[in-house]
Symmetry: C2
Subunit: 115 residues, 2 copies
DNA sequence: TTCCTTTATCGTATATTTACGATGAACGAT
DNA sequence: ATCGTTCATCGTAAATATACGATAAAGGAA
């Protein structure tokens, strides 16, 4: 948000928007996939799999960590990144709740609303 | 993306990121809820339910329309906005696929990866 | 200690997003 | 034809996001 404050919206909407923001860049989507599908966790490994500079990947990792979707365990000079399953599950539950509400709405067609 | 091109990432990641971007603002989340839960469809009605100016709400509606999550039927000087159920369902399916992949990954803990 | 590796952060440039007021376009009503 | 309503778009300002190279910090290895 550039100007509007978070208090102006519902807590749930602010949370969902924040999670969505973390997922709103292809690089971050792919980083999550890389962390689950490949036996890889270091920033350097991820850099090799993406067309981005190391500093940029580090920024994306920071954003994912900010919302808690991943965590980073420091191992000497290295950092082992991995999915934070509980945060991810929590996020998924909220997303499911949202979409279930949105898709359940009986008559949403414009045809029905026009009256 | 500011600089990196979309061809640098997988199509699936680009699509998911695009949907996530549309959902990455609390106002847009609430607009979707308003369109499903309340018997409301006009821009002006939505403006009254949000702490934003009419032009700003119009921009948010445009962004939701861009990714196809809503549609707008013109009725004279008015526009009746509503959820586009099929696009919404498609988006949800892709999101479910993503989260199922992300949560299914057997041993993702950093503990397991460190070796 | 001195190097090497790994990652975060700084500085910076550019692009995008968000917000508002003002204006214009479309159309129904008078 | 004029007025009122509704909405999109324009112009603009400020904040964020994205990307890179350069540098700093942290720690293992020589």
């Amino acid at each position: 948000m550039a100007v509007a404050k978070t208090e102006d919206f519902t807590q749930e909407a602010v949370y969902l928007a924040d999670v969505a923001k973390a997922l709103s860049h292809p690089a971050r989507i792919q980083i999550l996939k890389i962390l689950t599908e490949m036996d890889v966790c270091m920033c350097g490994d991820i850099v090799e799999l993406l067309p981005l500079a190391q500093s940029t990947v580090s920024q994306h990792l920071k954003e994912l960590k900010r919302v808690g979707l991943i965590q980073g365990d420091i191992e000497g000079p290295k950092v082992c990144y991995c999915i934070n399953s509980s945060s991810l599950r929590k996020a998924y539950e909220h997303i499911q709740k949202l979409f279930n509400q949105l898709t359940k709405g009986g008559s949403n067609s414009c045809e029905t609303k026009k009256k």
